[in-house]
Amino acid sequence: MVLKQEKDPAFVKFKGIEKRYGKVVAVKKMDLEIPEGSLVTLLGPSGCGKTTLLRMLAGLEEPTHGDIFIKGKRINDTPIHKRNLGIIFQNYALFPHKTIFDNVAFGLKYRSASKAIMKEKVEKALETVRLPGVGDRMPSQLSGGQQQRIALARAIVIEPDVLLMDEPLSALDENLREDMRREIDNLQQALGVTTIFVTHDQREALSMSDKVVVMKDGFIQQEGDPEEVYNNSINHFVADFLGHSNFLNAIVKEKQGDYLSVTLEDNTICLAVPAGTFNKGDKVEMVIRAQKFNLGYRADHVPEQGENVFFGKIKDRSYMGGEVSYFVELENKLVLHAINFVKRSPYRRGDEVFMKVMHEHCRLLKA
């Protein structure tokens, strides 16, 4: 293998990018750098501007303000057909009137490749997506998952500078989505092509990205590697959007070593990790992930000095195969969500339980 030169940390760069539709601002003064060879996910609810950002990079929308750079070159005025990008659309966008071969060869035809090279490259691309020998079929003869792989082959065969994927898995059903996600991930790593992946599915984002960019209302809320964004969410939105979080209002009491002690609404005291600097008396929000609780029967609870513990009654539960999701009602009517692995006998509705959580799993955010 050829040794790669040092990777460009800002292979794709958005600088002060903004997009307005009349009075509606879809993307607000955004700066973002995407390192070479990485897979970056733009994650957010619909209407957060993630697709608009992708479409501006693709050249399908024009930014109202700001500049876009690929490999350090400003591409604002480069028309789409000269940008050398591979785009994967949500609905595959295969040409229904062309054979699979012609679909995949389409980009090569406009790069004036010779017949022989074209044939060789198309065959290689079809092998890469594990669909050799389907060249003479029509797109309608393939299943959804296969069509999406052909779309992938069509995009990578032109050796694009950047691969753009706009919710490519959302049209597939659950099981297929999982496979396809892994496949895209493997393919991206094998090819080393810089990839931008737009999704509203946190699991997709967390499982395959080198970097996750969480967006809302046209702003970047947080960017970082998946663990960072998941474990150290910097605000309520990110903590709420990724995974299942509980939010408890609290007031800062005092500093205790690395932790802060806080008073909750029902006057219980908890120790928690501050995300930021807080002073005594500050109103804060304590975030606890549903998976971080440990449940036990209340009768079995052995009190410990300085533990974070809640007592309540199982109000509702839903069995999800490997895990059980419990909704526990505390004495002050607050309902906490806990997800535990299935033990021998799951708790039942009405059971009195305690919920313990480690100090480092309680994080304090600005209220």
Partner: protein
């Protein structure tokens, strides 16, 4: 369990009855009439003979009218196609808020009587019509230009009648094309025009094909524009039928001409369907 497959037919039965009694039965009458004899006195005598058909092909007069009709129909289809595709494509592409309003304007002619619409062209193209009047007023011409009572005027009248059919047929077809297909083509290296040629245009062909056929068939059967806007040489086959049946009350011969037109159009539609493959194109396009 009872077989309930006949149930949907109840919904269809009123229209089927209407089509049968109001269309199929009268057409059968026409075909029967076409074999009858016409006595010199003017009375129709029931018979079974091909004299009326033979009369049609006796000399070149009647077939030449048929050929004129086919030529005018092809010219109309061609012009409709060009003048219809462009607005249909505009409707497909535009994101303007005016789009519903503009669509209504396309259909507006349907709300005005066909005769009135056709007659109004006399006020525009006539010797003292709008165009000649304005041109003479500003001194571009001294004598009025003869724009009426020729084939051009007839085609003009046909166009204003048939354009909406063409536009709507093409638009419906275009509207079903996913816009990301053209975007995909452009991202793979096509210019706007190349993407149109490679993707949008071929995928709109079913609508183009249906629109062309509709315009062709409607033109072949129309008699008002040639009657009102055409001259003596611009008679089309439907005018001939009209004259035989209404003018000279020669039902047998009029019926024979009608039958000839019917057979010709049926053959054309069948062949067209077979080789242009409307159903085939649809099959390719539908995903399941």
């Amino acid at each position: 369990m009872k077989n309930k497959s006949w149930k949907p037919w109840i919904l269809l039965s009123p229209s089927l009855a209407a089509v049968f009694f109001l269309l199929v039965v009268p057409v059968c009458f026409v075909i029967v009439y076409s074999f009858w004899l016409r006595a010199p006195s003017g009375a129709d005598i029931p018979a079974f003979q091909f004299g009326n058909y033979a009369k049609f092909f006796e000399d070149f007069f009647y077939p030449s009218i048929l050929l004129t009709t086919l030529r005018v129909a092809l010219e109309t289809v061609f012009l409709c196609l060009i003048m219809g595709y462009i607005p249909a494509y505009f409707f497909y592409k535009t994101e303007s808020k005016l789009k519903p309003f503009l669509m209504i304007i396309v259909m507006l002619p349907f709300w005005i009587s066909f005769i009135i619409r056709t007659l109004s062209w006399i006020n525009i193209l006539g010797d003292s019509g709008l165009i000649n009047h304005v041109l003479m007023r500003i001194g571009v011409i001294q004598e009025p230009i003869a724009m009426l009572y020729n084939e051009g005027a007839v085609i003009m009248g046909l166009l204003q009648y048939l354009l909406p059919f063409m536009i709507l047929n093409i638009y419906v077809s275009l509207d079903g094309i996913d816009k990301s297909l053209a975007e995909a083509a452009k991202s793979l290296g096509c210019t706007e025009w190349q993407a149109f040629k490679e993707v949008t245009m071929p995928l709109s062909l079913p609508g183009v094909s249906a629109g062309c056929l509709l315009v062709f068939v409607l033109t072949c059967g129309t008699y008002l524009p040639p009657m009102i806007l055409g001259g003596p040489g611009n008679e089309m086959i439907a005018n001939l039928i009209f004259k035989r049946v209404i003018g000279t009350l020669d039902w047998p011969f009029g019926s024979a001409i009608s039958a000839i037109l019917l057979i010709l159009l049926a053959t054309i539609v069948y062949t067209y369907n077979r080789y242009m493959g409307i159903s085939q194109i649809f099959k390719t396009l539908s995903n399941e």
